[in-house]
C-alpha cells in the first residue's frame, strides 16, 4: 500500500498534504468550539477523520477546476484554496464571510477558487456537477469538475441520473464518494442494496476505484491517475474512499447509535496519524510534523478570533442578491 521508496519529491508532496490535513482538523475544531460557545447557532457537520479525502482530492485539482460538495463541506472548501478567515466568518454569520453570512456552514462556497458550494440537499451536487462538466465541454476547456458526496447520497436519484448523464455526454467529471458507513444515525449498509457505489457506477459504464480513504498516499495516487484520464477526455470516473466520521453527524449529535468502542477503535486509523507515521518512518524531522499541528492551531485560533470580532452583516444585506428585477421589500413592509 504505502510505497517504501518514498523520494524527496514525494516527501515534499506528502508534507503539503500533512499540513493541509492539520489545517482542516484545526478549522473543524475551531468550528466545534464556536458551536459550543453558541456563536454558531445552526447545524454544522464536521469532517474530522475524513481530512485525507479532502486533501488527496483537492490538492490534485487545478485552481481553475471546479468542485461541488455536501453538507459536510468545510474541509473540501479549505482544501480547494478558500480563505479560512472568510469561511469562519461565514460560519459565524458575519460580514466578510464568503456569502456575507447569508449561507452559513451548509452552504459554504468560494467561487473565486472554483468551489461551487456545499449543499443542504443530499445528492443535489451530483446533477450540478454533471452540468458544470457539460458547460466545460461546451466551452472546450480542459478543466474538470469534481463532486464529493457521502455514501448516503447514492440512494437518491441524482446518483443514477447524474452519473448516467456524465457518461452519456462523456463529461470531464470526477465523482468521489466519501463512504463513512453512516448517513446520520443510519448504517448505510442497512439501506443500500447490492455492492454499493462502485458497482452501480460500473454498471453505468463508469470505471471505479475503491481506496482506503484514511490513507492519504492511496488517495493521492488514485486521484492523480484518474484525473489525468478525465482531463485527457476519457469521460467520468468514480472514486470510493472508505473512511469513518470520527465526530458526530452534527455538532449536537449525541451519537448514541455507534458503540463508543467502535469510535475509539476508529481513532487508531486517524488519517493524520497515519500519514504522520509514514513521514516519521521516512525520517522526516518530527519537529516539522509537530509544527504542522501547532501552526494549524495557531492559524485557526486567529481565524476564530477574527470571526468573533467581525461585525454582523448590515441588515440591508438581507435584501441583496435575491434577483435582478423586482423589489423584494415592496409588498412586505
Amino acid at each position: 500500500m504505502v510505497s517504501q521508496k518514498t523520494t524527496n519529491v514525494d516527501i515534499d508532496r506528502l508534507l503539503k498534504h500533512h499540513a493541509l490535513m492539520w489545517r482542516i482538523r484545526a478549522f473543524e475544531e475551531a468550528a466545534l468550539q464556536a458551536h459550543t460557545e453558541k456563536l454558531v447557532l445552526g447545524a454544522i457537520h464536521p469532517s474530522i477523520g475524513q481530512e485525507a479525502i479532502a486533501a488527496g482530492v483537492c490538492l490534485n485539482l487545478r485552481s481553475d477546476d471546479l468542485l461541488t460538495s455536501t453538507h459536510r463541506g468545510h474541509g473540501h472548501t479549505l482544501a480547494k484554496g478558500a480563505d479560512p478567515n472568510q469561511m469562519m466568518r461565514e460560519l459565524l454569520g458575519r460580514e466578510g464571510g464568503n456569502s456575507h453570512g447569508k449561507g452559513g456552514s451548509m452552504h459554504i462556497a468560494d467561487f473565486s477558487v472554483g468551489m461551487l458550494g456545499a449543499n443542504g440537499v443530499v445528492g443535489a451536487n451530483i446533477h450540478i456537477t454533471a452540468g458544470a462538466a457539460h458547460a466545460i465541454k461546451l466551452l472546450k476547456s480542459d478543466r474538470i469538475v469534481c463532486s464529493i458526496f457521502g455514501d448516503g447520497a447514492i440512494n437518491r436519484g441524482p446518483f443514477l441520473e447524474g452519473l448516467n448523464w456524465a457518461v452519456v455526454f462523456n463529461l470531464p467529471a470526477l465523482f468521489v464518494c466519501e463512504d463513512n458507513g453512516f448517513a446520520s444515525t443510519t448504517s448505510t449498509s442497512s439501506v443500500t442494496g447490492g455492492k454499493g457505489a462502485a458497482a452501480r457506477a460500473e454498471a453505468l459504464g463508469i470505471p471505479s476505484l475503491t481506496v482506503d480513504g484514511n490513507d492519504l498516499i492511496s488517495i493521492d495516487e488514485a486521484v492523480r491517475s484518474v484525473i489525468s484520464s478525465i482531463r485527457a477526455g476519457n469521460g467520468p470516473r468514480l472514486l470510493v474512499a472508505k473512511t469513518y466520521r470520527l465526530s458526530g453527524h452534527t455538532a449536537s449529535d449525541p451519537d448514541t447509535y455507534r458503540l463508543r468502542s467502535e469510535v475509539e477503535k476508529a481513532w487508531e486509523s486517524d488519517p493524520i496519524t497515519n500519514l504522520g507515521g509514514v513521514l516519521r518512518r521516512a525520517k522526516v524531522d518530527t519537529v516539522i510534523l509537530d509544527n504542522h499541528e501547532s501552526n494549524a492551531r495557531i492559524e485557526m485560533a486567529a481565524v476564530f478570533s477574527d470571526a468573533k470580532a467581525a461585525s454582523w452583516p448590515p441588515l440591508s444585506r438581507a435584501f441583496e442578491d435575491v434577483q435582478d428585477i423586482g423589489d423584494p421589500r415592496q409588498e412586505a413592509f
Partner: protein
C-alpha cells in the same frame, strides 16, 4: 388531562392510531432511532422495523412508494424530515398522490399523510427553513394541515391519518418543545378553525407558529384597550371560511399574519375571500403580514429581520383600528 410537548403529542397520536389500525405504518430516514427530531422515539421498539421503517435517503421513492402502498390497502405516514426535502418528491406528491383518485375516476383513494416539518429554526438558512404551505393549497386533491399547539398536533394528526385523501401535515420545527394540555384522546376535525381568543375590535387570522406571535400581540393590544380576536386556521385546505367571515362580520377589521413569504401566501386567499364575501362588514382595508420575498438568510440578525413578530402584528393592528 395530560401535558405534553408538541412533538410527543404527535407521537402519542401516531402510536394510538397504529395500535388501533394495523395497516398504518410510518416510513422515513432515521426513524428506527427516533427520527431527527425525536418524534418517533421508542416507536420502533413497540411496532418493529416493518411498521416504523427505516428508509434510504430516497425522498422520491419514499413518497412514491407510499402512494403505491396507500392504493394497496395500507395507510402510510411519510416522514420528510424537513419540508424542504419534500421538494425532492414533488412529482410523487403532486402528480401522483394528489391526482390518482380523480384521474382514475374514483377507483382508488390515496390515504397517506406526509409530515413536512416547516419554518424557521435558528440559522438553518435557505434550504432548511421554508414555509411552503400555500403551494400545497393550490393543488386539488391535497389536504393541508398546520397545527400550532400540542393538543392540535395530537387531534389533527389523528384525523389526518384517518383521512382517505393525501394530507400534507406541516409541523413547525420551532414548536417541537412547546408544552401544552392534551385534554382528551379525540381526533380534531379537519377544516375547523380554533378561536384562540375572542375580541370585538379586530380579527387576526393566523396558523402554525405565527399564532403564538398573534396571541402575544393581542395581549399588548389589550393593554392599550384593543380587543383582538385571534383565529388559528389549523387546516389551510379545507379552511374554515365561516369562522373567519363570522368574526369579520363582528369586528369589521381583518389582519392575516403568517411566516411564509407574503407574496402569493395563503393570506392572499383569505383576504380575497373576505373582500368578496364580507365587503360590507369591513371598516378598514384588509392587511397581511408575511415575510419579504427573500430566501431565509443564515446570520441571526438578518433572519430576525424577516420574522413576523408580535411587535409587527401589533403595529399593523393599531394602524387598522386608528
Amino acid at each position: 388531562m395530560t401535558t405534553m410537548t408538541y412533538a410527543d403529542a404527535a407521537k402519542q397520536a401516531l402510536t394510538e392510531e397504529m395500535r388501533r389500525d394495523p395497516t398504518i405504518w410510518a416510513l422515513g430516514e432515521d426513524l428506527g432511532r427516533g427520527g431527527v427530531f425525536g418524534q418517533y422515539q421508542g416507536m420502533a421498539e413497540e411496532f418493529g422495523p416493518e411498521r416504523i421503517a427505516d428508509t434510504p435517503i430516497s425522498e422520491a421513492a419514499i413518497l412514491g412508494a407510499a402512494v403505491g402502498a396507500a392504493m394497496s390497502g395500507t395507510r402510510p405516514v411519510v416522514e420528510m424530515r424537513f419540508a424542504d426535502f419534500a421538494l425532492c418528491a414533488i412529482d410523487e406528491l403532486v402528480n401522483q398522490a394528489a391526482k390518482a383518485r380523480y384521474m382514475f375516476g374514483g377507483q382508488t383513494k390515496v390515504p397517506l399523510v406526509v409530515r413536512e416539518p416547516m419554518g424557521m429554526w435558528r440559522s438553518s438558512a435557505a434550504q432548511h427553513s421554508q414555509s411552503l404551505e400555500s403551494w400545497y393549497t393550490h393543488i386539488p386533491g391535497l389536504v393541508v394541515v398546520c397545527p400550532s399547539t400540542p393538543h392540535d398536533n395530537f387531534g389533527l394528526l389523528k384525523s389526518s391519518i384517518r383521512c382517505d385523501d393525501p394530507v400534507v401535515y406541516m409541523e413547525h420545527k420551532n414548536l417541537w418543545a412547546l408544552e401544552g394540555a392534551v385534554p382528551d384522546c379525540d381526533p380534531i376535525p379537519l377544516g375547523v378553525a380554533r378561536i384562540a381568543r375572542t375580541g370585538q375590535d379586530l380579527t387576526i387570522v393566523s396558523w402554525s407558529s405565527t399564532c403564538h406571535e398573534a396571541m402575544l400581540a393581542a395581549v399588548t393590544l389589550e393593554e392599550e384597550g384593543l380587543e383582538a380576536e385571534v383565529i388559528d386556521l389549523r387546516t389551510l385546505w379545507p379552511w374554515d371560511k365561516r369562522a373567519v367571515l363570522d368574526s369579520v362580520e363582528k369586528t369589521g377589521r381583518l389582519l392575516i399574519a403568517h411566516e411564509a413569504v407574503q407574496v402569493g401566501g395563503f393570506g392572499a386567499e383569505v383576504a380575497a375571500t373576505v373582500a368578496d364575501r364580507a365587503f360590507s362588514s369591513l371598516r378598514a382595508p384588509i392587511k397581511r403580514i408575511g415575510a419579504p420575498r427573500v430566501p431565509i438568510p443564515y446570520a441571526p440578525p438578518l433572519e430576525d429581520l424577516l420574522r413576523v413578530t408580535p411587535e409587527r402584528i401589533a403595529a399593523v393592528a393599531r394602524e387598522l383600528t386608528r
